[in-house]
């Protein structure tokens, strides 16, 4: 690539604060993230890390009366946070669309699945009902739903979990979006169905050249689908980089902790599964320094005093940690011992 193309999605210093409760909750705190055309980025983190909130902010799905959004969120150069209702309506479902975690809950229970797909097509394109239905049928074939003609008239509750998620994918792809947001699309599914859905998503992403942000708490899934991984903790991206780099040489103590908690086949039986001590911080009551410091074995006084700024440790690999010196050393030590 000679000329670097402008990223299709640029998130700059995004903060999201929920103001409904007694104390404002800063769920997302200064997130920067760019996604190139055709790239898949996995947002990895545990519950409450702000990964889903970030994702939903891209479509502005939060209740705006109770949410404060700061920073900028550019999709093809125009700021979603400044869009008027009409522009937002044109963006949603057409340029950017979303797959939800639980398709059973994310689809209207009293409309058939086909009607819901036809609705989104006709919302964005001036086509007849018959034409839209033909397209929906084609989409169903594309996501490999068996006997698609009959399934179009089925209601969400009449389908199995895997089938519903396929229908949800068909719905999301109905208007040929450029960016697909996937919010834990396999979490609610059986393990065997998960794999099928992941394979389908990867195949469609390749064919359609989609840019994807894939939210998950499962490192295995992230490695499977993503080009880059962004690890979130307490509303911040603490480490981001190419999959290989982040998995092989994790530099943030939290990422290292996450990787060591994976129960691997090779692990000796009878050994305790390592866990990260403590629990995620209360977002309404964050410590002044690094949010991970209270749980971090490497933390020193500097960590507790000031929030770390991003440090580039490798090509495209950025970490928000003041103790990268220590993590680098231990990585080197591990290399020697291996």
């Amino acid at each position: 690539m000679t000329i670097k193309e402008r990223p299709i999605l640029e998130i700059k210093n995004l903060s999201v604060t929920f103001t409904a409760g007694r104390k404002p909750v800063r769920a997302v705190d200064g997130v920067d993230l760019s996604v190139a055309r055709g790239e898949v980025v996995a947002l990895l983190g545990e519950s409450g890390s702000g990964k889903s909130v970030t994702l939903r902010t891209i479509l502005r799905l939060h209740n705006e009366r109770r949410t404060k959004m700061e920073g900028s969120l550019l999709v093809r150069g125009s700021d979603v946070l400044k869009m008027k209702t009409r522009e937002l309506g044109d963006l949603r479902g057409r340029t950017v669309s979303m797959i939800f975690q639980e398709p059973m809950l994310a689809m209207d229970p009293v409309y058939s699945v086909g009607q819901q797909i036809i609705e989104v097509i006709r919302k964005h394109e001036p086509v007849s009902y018959e034409e839209a239905r033909k397209r929906a049928l084609h989409l169903f074939e594309r996501v490999r739903i068996p006997s698609p003609e009959r399934r179009l008239d089925a209601y969400p509750h009449e389908m199995s979990g895997g089938m519903r998620q396929r229908a949800m994918i068909a719905l999301a792809l109905a208007c040929k979006p450029e960016i697909l947001l996937a919010d834990e699309p396999t979490t609610a599914l059986d393990a065997t169905v998960q794999v099928q859905i992941l394979l389908l998503l990867r195949e469609l992403q390749h064919e359609l050249g989609l840019s994807v942000i894939f939210v998950t708490h499962d490192i295995g899934v992230a490695v499977e689908v993503a080009d880059r991984i962004a690890v979130m903790y307490a509303g911040r991206i603490v480490e981001i980089g190419p999959v290989r780099s982040v998995i092989r040489t994790p530099r943030h103590p939290y990422t290292r902790g996450l990787l060591s908690t994976r129960g691997h086949g090779g692990r000796l039986s009878g050994k305790r599964l390592p866990a990260i001590p403590g629990s995620p911080p209360d977002l309404a009551n964050l410590p002044p320094g690094c949010a991970f410091a209270p749980r971090c074995a490497l933390a020193d006084d500097r960590c507790r005093a000031q929030a770390p700024s991003p440090t580039t440790v490798d090509e495209g690999h950025v970490v928000r940690c003041l103790r990268t010196d220590a993590t680098t050393q231990s990585l080197a030590a591990a290399d020697v011992s291996a």
């Binding site: 639980e102 989104v120 509750h157």
Partner: protein
């Protein structure tokens, strides 16, 4: 679908039979002499016996019951003891008037109730919601016969805009679609609509608030639908339950409007029941209760069928 409806109709048959039995038992278990209204105070024992035989009150209860059912199935509800007119004619005329009044009241209550409910649900926990909820609580709590009298004092006695009593000009007791009759229905219908309005508003508010908090609303927004587009989905999700509540309210109004019909001298079943009870007019009482109960059963049947048509999640088998 047709099979489902047929099945539902078959299911209502035992209910109807039970209703007739309860209705018959209630009327006969109540104390009092049914002939007291027609017999002169100084009637002889022999005359009393003759009348007992004439009306069939001397027979055993089960025989009376079976004879009554058999005739009722053929559309004959017997004759009124007090007026000697056929009960069926009396009842159906009154039911027509009551149905008219209840339907208009339910319509008003449903229109206002869904409006308040939607507004409150959409603006949950705001001043608008609080005011709408307050109105619905007032609607449910206010004694409606009292409200009826207040309305009569304001609009009939003081302002003289609307008539205070009756169903039509000159004591007419048959409904007609003209201004003279419509004027008569305004006050009783408004009075009667207050309770269903409150109940429907509260139900719809809770439904709308619950639906708006569901994930699929975010799903619809993520598709790019406008607020109005989302609203249409909210309406379709609210409709089955809202209509069911409306149907049940209409049923209650059909049977429970004695007080309002008395306040406004409305020639409906309320007045008829009232008269029948005080005169111990057993055939009239029995017939009226039976017809009202049948209406209630049929109404519930219609509600069930409509609900099944609207909500695909309800089993059709």
């Amino acid at each position: 679908m047709l099979i489902y409806i047929a099945k539902r109709i078959v299911y209502t048959l035992p209910i109807m039979l039970g209703v007739t039995l309860v209705c018959f038992a209630l009327v006969h278990l109540a104390p009092g002499d049914p002939l007291i209204a027609v017999l002169p105070p100084d009637a002889s024992e022999q005359m009393k016996q003759q009348l007992m035989v004439l009306y069939g009150f001397d027979r055993p209860y089960h025989e009376q019951f079976l004879r009554w059912i058999w005739r009722a199935v053929q559309g004959d509800l017997g004759g009124s003891i007090a007026t000697n007119r056929p009960v069926a004619t009396e009842v159906f005329k009154a039911v027509g008037n009551t149905l008219m009044l209840s339907a208009v009241a339910t319509f008003i209550g449903f229109a206002l109730g869904t409006f308040f409910g939607f507004v409150a649900g959409y603006f949950r926990d705001t001043v608008i919601d609080k005011s709408a909820s307050f109105l619905s609580v007032v609607g449910v709590s206010v004694p409606h016969y009292w409200l009826g009298m207040v309305l009569v004092i304001i609009f009939s006695a003081t302002l003289g805009w609307l008539p205070a009593t009756g169903a039509g000009p000159g004591g007419s007791d048959a409904w007609a679609w003209d201004w003279a009759h419509v004027r008569h229905i305004v006050l009783p219908a408004i009075t009667m609509s207050v309770i269903p309005m409150g109940i429907i508003a509260r139900t719809v508010r809770a439904l709308v608030a619950e639906i708006l908090s569901q994930e699929f609303i975010a799903g619809l927004r993520a598709k790019g639908l406008s607020e109005f587009g989302v609203f249409k989905h909210v309406v379709k999700n609210t409709a089955p339950t809202a209509l069911a509540v409306m149907g049940i309210q209409l049923g209650y109004l059909l049977g429970g409007s004695i007080l309002i019909e008395t306040v406004f001298s409305w020639p409906g079943t309320g007045g008829l029941l009232n008269a029948a009870i005080f005169q111990r007019d057993l055939p009239l009482l029995q017939g009226t209760i039976l017809v009202l109960a049948m209406f209630f059963v049929i109404l519930n049947l219609i509600v069930d069928v409509v609900q099944t048509l609207l909500d695909p999640r309800i089993q059709r088998s």
